[in-house]
Amino acid sequence: MSASAHARRDDGRPADYLSDTSVASWLLTTDHKRVGILYMLSVTLFFFVGGVIAGLMRLELMTPRGDVMSTPDAYNRMFTMHGVIMIFFFLVPAIPGVLGNFLLPLMIGARDLAFPKINLLSWYVYMIGGVMGVWILVYGGVDTGWTFYTPFSTMYSNTYVVTAAVAVFITGFSSILTGLNFIVTVHTMRAPGMTWFRLPLFVWSHYATALIMVLGTPVLAISVVLIGLERLFQFGIFDPKLGGDPILFQHLFWFYSHPAVYIMVLPGFAVISEIIPCFSRRPIFGYRFIAFASVAIAIFGFLVWGHHMFVSGQSMYAGAVFSILSFLVAIPSAIKVFNWTATLYKGSLRFDTPMLYAMGFMGLFTIGGLTGLMLASLAIDVHVHDTYFVVAHFHYIMVGGTTMAYLGGVHFWWPKITGRTYSELWGKLSALLVFVGFNLTFFPQFLLGYLGMPRRYFEYRPEFQVLNVMSTAGASILAVGFVLPLFYLLLSLRKAPDAGPNPWGATGLEWQVESPPTTHNFHEPVLVTCGPYMYSPEEAEREYASQHVHTA
């Protein structure tokens, strides 16, 4: 120990991972915690860029006529850039890049990820893609939609399609590197005694996510490369005039992009599975079911992609099979929701900020999932395909699910990451604003879609205006809810570390080290002797008794 002593503070304690503040120490770091912080800064930036674009779109949609944006084409570029930025530069890297990088080694008792340099490389690769994305945005954007559907993208669009394809291609590799790192880390870096069934569910979920990243992302890379080849050199792959098939692109694209939904939401499950037992003071219900459900989702998620193509010329028989398989994937998702709910049952619940986000997640993800089943039915999909019903559905998953989970996770682990506590009052207020604002924004969109308002148009029929005004009003509340944490979390950094190692009384190895952790995470070799979530009913009773001690 003394021989390996590193930089120490004046009081003799080992320095925490944040103590070296030089720019080079950040840009050349291979510390998984610092890479996590780098990711946090960048995904936050991209989230607000994508958010401002969303705000402009909601302003445009406040009135039936096009009046905010100069041309319909400007609107097309807006929704495309909103989708590209939010999906590839926020949702996919957010939880794995920030919380996964920071917590995975801590949770399994490791010094770092298996490949620390590759971890840093993944951030640089991501930033190259991200900077290209911003460059495209500044120089006029892309108008194909984030889905890059052919033949429009290869033959007709006169925007920066190839540049966007390259940006997505590059960012994809960042995702593959992260996935590879997580898989190898979970296999080889677990501390002695940390068996597979002692892993926190956060780790199981990230393992499943990593599998999808590695198996799916190369196909996305192939599809965008083929777009580039056809656009630049007229390869006949997707364009019927050249002997290609446009539906082939949709197959390739959705082979990645449906599983990508699980790349975005499985890490959300990871966060929720940690928050719920902690604030219920109960062991998680059905640990193995939740663990295996994550892996099942990763695998079955690859068998359902055709549900995006029910009305696009795919064979009816393929459609029917994809429809049935899509119903099946709801089972592992439901297993998780029921197990979280069962964990709450007779728990001694505490409604701190992270728990508010987790409860919001459970409700909103359930609505998003059930409307997904409606969309997976062939007959309903014919009616609501390409309407605001679809937009509302996936925002319930992506914002109500992933973004709520990300915020919940940031609030849960903020004391660990920074060593500081934040104002609970402001935290709860912002969680409430996000929940209310979100529902006001997106629930009307279910109704709009069911009434037949198509997505991706900047004008609409006057009878849809009331619901659209509600949606825009909700978006402004949502925006306040998203901006508030930026202020009170950053303000918390001004005070001295006050969180202590374990402010929530949580189990898990990451709560047994200092906040913020030292560079080397653990001071002595870790030996794991018990499973996760040892929140006992006795402990809950004790807490309850101490709360009511004055009546005794």
Partner: protein, 119 residues
């Protein structure tokens, strides 16, 4: 000591561990290389052979290509001498490509079955 610890973490048998450090003889590489060249000649030859229909030509060419790929994966990429986990990874990845192709072909083959345009 350090070495042994590593192998137990990888969940490899001692035998598999030995295998992962297997040094492949230059002779083996040369043999595989020759086999690949032979198969290449076969591919070119099969192109000029009239087998009755394009489909058969295609099937023959693809079969030869698969044999070549398998040789490369097994020997040049060392999978043949690797731990079970490496085998699982290699076979799993192959299955995943198969999955993509299988569903893709299922759509293409069943497209004309209904008397509706485009279905």
């Amino acid at each position: 000591m350090q070495h042994h610890h590593q192998s137990s973490q990888l969940h490899q048998s001692a035998e598999a561990h030995e295998q992962s450090h297997h040094v492949i003889a230059v002779k083996t590489y040369l043999m595989i290389y020759l086999a690949l060249m032979l198969l290449l000649a076969l591919t070119v030859g099969a192109y000029f052979l009239d087998m009755g229909s394009h489909q058969i030509n295609l099937a023959v060419a693809m079969t030869i290509a698969v044999v070549k790929a398998v040789l490369i994966v097994l020997f040049f990429m060392h999978v043949y001498y690797s731990a079970p986990l490496t085998w699982i990874t290699a076979v799993g990845s192959l299955l995943w490509v198969g999955l993509l192709l299988a569903f893709l072909l299922a759509d293409y083959f069943s497209r004309g079955w209904l008397d509706i345009l485009g279905k």
